[in-house]
Symmetry: C2
Subunit: 186 residues, 2 copies
Amino acid sequence: MERFLKKYYAITDRKQFKYDFEIQIKRMLDSGIRMFQLREKDLPSDEFFDLASKLGKLLSGYDASFFVNDRVDVAVLTGANGVHLPSKSIPIETVKHKFPFLIVGKSCHSVEEAVRAEKEGADYITFSPIFETPGKGKPKGLKALKEVVEAVSIPVYALGGITEEAIPEVLKIGVYGIAGIRLFIK
Amino acid sequence: MERFLKKYYAITDRKQFKYDFEIQIKRMLDSGIRMFQLREKDLPSDEFFDLASKLGKLLSGYDASFFVNDRVDVAVLTGANGVHLPSKSIPIETVKHKFPFLIVGKSCHSVEEAVRAEKEGADYITFSPIFETPGKGKPKGLKALKEVVEAVSIPVYALGGITEEAIPEVLKIGVYGIAGIRLFIK
């Protein structure tokens, strides 16, 4: 399972992309990213499914791992490696029980949520927002990130407001990896 | 499969309910309804999943059949009898291929869509809106309904703006059943 969890984890937001979807993803692949999450909350099911199929095909040529946000059905039906469950999601245990082959990630915003996610069977978590980032509330900071890393034994991805310059200090905390949206758009 | 497809098919919209969710559903059960679809488009995944679990449990005591709108994952994970796919949904064939045990319904608004849905493997369709109903566009009328019924060999449910008084004339067209939201809220 851990071979699917890479150090850098790109989460999509096509509205912030500077290029056409496929070209932007290829640019990320060219820069070395090998782990992606499709997160396009505004799309109806048909378009989200089509985009997931497209991304899955694109990534399979690169041995890059592929996660789908929230929609367990779309993850299963497009052959994704896993699903990333947001705060308000289907319970982790239910997903794991029915689809044991899916890697399950979970969004966490406190030590308590992180501990609970691990207990419920999450394979990795994101902890956010680390720094200031639009519309995501008060930043948690590196101290809280350290507490989370120490509280759980599953991989922790730091997410939210991380710039390229900040990557070294975040990695120093002992996180498994860095997740980001804008960070990887170039 | 046909034992799960009843003559009257209640689709939920809890915002229009006159009573608490559970009481309203029980009133429908008391009036003889034995086929339900949970359709609550505004709920985040966790609340939709919880409500689906609740409805599934409630209905299991009555041998009533239970469908989930759009979310194939929620249908599978709550043990629903089937999923009802709206216009902008995951493809029917993909769902049928992976989850052959699920009954799959599809929303149709023209003869062409109905024929395509049958070809793609839908087990039943709804055709709508038959009569005037808020926010659903121009009514199709009984003539178009008749064309749909004649064009496909799968069960057709008439949906949209049907009042109790209109039920006999709609049934005369040869539909399999009547679906409704407001129609069954009493």
